[in-house]
């Protein structure tokens, strides 16, 4: 069987894809909260929509914060999750 970098990789699941997307955009994702949100309807497509709709808010928020990068990342993730909650609520899903 091939080993190391040649070994076949498992395809990432949707929560992992959302997490990677958020990390690429400077957020520190909490996997437990993401799993919970996914269970209640959050998809990668929805995460991208919410992010795009609020991009300016996150950029402004990020500029405003005078915190270490990890705390800023966690704070951005919190803001993102609350936006997801609003989005899901408007679409008739139960609150996260």
């Amino acid at each position: 069987l091939p080993t190391g970098s040649h070994a076949p990789r498992l395809k990432e699941n949707e929560v992992e894809s959302i997490s990677r997307f958020l990390t690429e955009n400077g957020m520190s994702a909490d996997p437990i909260w993401l799993v919970e949100a996914h269970r209640r309807g959050l998809s990668l497509a929805m995460a991208k929509t919410v992010y795009d709709q609020n991009r300016e808010r996150y950029e402004g928020f990020s500029r405003k914060l005078r915190q270490p990068a990890e705390i800023t990342g966690a704070a951005l993730f919190n803001a993102f999750m609350l936006d997801c909650e609003r989005h899901l609520r408007n679409r008739g899903y139960q609150a996260i």
């Binding site: 520190s28 914060l65 705390i71 966690a74 704070a75 919190n78 609350l82």
Partner: protein
Amino acid sequence: MNRKESYINDKRRVSYLSSVYYRISHRKSVLIEGGYGAGKTRFLQLIQPKKLKAVWVESLFNVHEMLSAILRDLDYEARASYRKSPGYLKLICALSHFFLLIDEANDLDRRVWPYLKRIIDAGVPIVLAGLPKVRTFLASEHPDILSRLKTLTLYPIEVEDFILQYKDFEPEAIEQIYASVKGDMRKFEEILTDCREKAKELNHAFVGVNLVLSLLSESEQIQP
């Protein structure tokens, strides 16, 4: 308690309160379920109908103490006693100008439930509040009681309501606190108090998001 002072303008809670008033005015009972810190106790404190006296029942009491305590609250002389409990139950079932409020219903002794059923059936409304496990317990052990109750599930208040309520906090600051407590409103209020105290120490008239994040990271409430 002044309703305006203590009540956050949350549409779901307003609707629940109307539903509770409707039920108890029709001599029917209600179960309010919610997780830790969802605001069950505060919600119960808001139930103050004009025509019915509220009698708070301690859920840790055994059945004899409970029956006598209800009667004492209604100005009867009653001493908890095994022998007198049947008479007390009969008297409670015959009265009609009050309703019972039972918080922490998850603490109720399982032997109390059949007595509560008799009281419900006599037309004395009971408003119970407890963790979701109360409903699970009733569904398996006393489906007949559960069928007599309307269940209202209390979710934590939405962040927008808090933003409107706490004008001395930056909206983003409230969001960060709200997100970090994950629905525990007791913890939410504790953090609000800590932040206000810190802002006072620093002579800030307004609680900003950076101050909140610093406090949350100190208390490990926010973690990367």
